[in-house]
Symmetry: C2
Subunit: 154 residues, 2 copies
Amino acid sequence: MAKATTLELDRFLPYRLSVLSNIVSTAISGAYEKRFGLTIPEWRVMAVLAMTPDLSAAEVAQRTAMDKVAVSRAVASLLKERRIVRKTARADRRRSLLRLSSAGRRVYAQVVPVALDYERDLLAPLTQKDREAVDRAVRILLGRAAEIGPAHTA
Amino acid sequence: MAKATTLELDRFLPYRLSVLSNIVSTAISGAYEKRFGLTIPEWRVMAVLAMTPDLSAAEVAQRTAMDKVAVSRAVASLLKERRIVRKTARADRRRSLLRLSSAGRRVYAQVVPVALDYERDLLAPLTQKDREAVDRAVRILLGRAAEIGPAHTA
DNA sequence: GGAAAATAGTTACAATTGCAACAAATAATA
DNA sequence: TATTATTTGTTGCAATTGTAACTATTTTCC
């Protein structure tokens, strides 16, 4: 007969990750919202377009780990606020090519230091070794999680 | 004049945490839902009641990092499925004392191994040292995140 | 003891999110 | 080339979630 086990929630990594991620996301999204009127999906779209202009919505979705509906809505709202511009791809008129507008680049330049400051504060109590361990572990876990929990890879 | 910086999304810890946590949560909640008809909030409530019976909803909320509305809904649904029982506290008739029913304990006993197996698979590619580092880092980050992002601590 | 403040939990409403159906355009194939 | 299948992105609808208002009870303190 199998041994009866109990599970202590605060030692269960999925739970701890969820709590940590929620706290961090809430804090960050509060800051973005308040200071720049940006949601996190909007910010993610801006961040990838800053790195790589002229992506299609599908490419943005892939790079931000967002689904295409979320990207579509973020793009719609960024267009309305004139923080990105969209042109139709000449070669394939289904695709649209997205890039930051100059206003978008200005906002982006303001957000980046806020984001990096937050990250720095968050990581402050960790030693350099700890940070490297976290970095490596998160990378490994991301790979492993994608493997075992295909989520939507039907 | 300030230096212009860019932010690479996949090196930004808040982003990586969010992606990792989403993948893990989706995988787990899929498993719970499919096999046991449990949502994650419901599972969390069950998990703390298994450890500590006769908690009030507010105490459950505190221990699960859920807000009281979420607890209320999870409790309502667990009651309907007869997986927990509720009695009114004699001393204070506003409070209700919650505990698993025997059916609830049976379900719990089935879920625990699934949860622990998932965690084990997830952590499989990490060395023991890595795991300890993650454990420590997450604990520290949880504390730090709670400090700097009071979120709702108005 | 009684009015006012506080607390536990629920409910109603609004905002967010996810999924499925869809239109437009292109690609594949017969 | 006409027909069907696929891809891109949007929209509608349902489910989830968060915020605020509410009821019931208890506590405070005059």
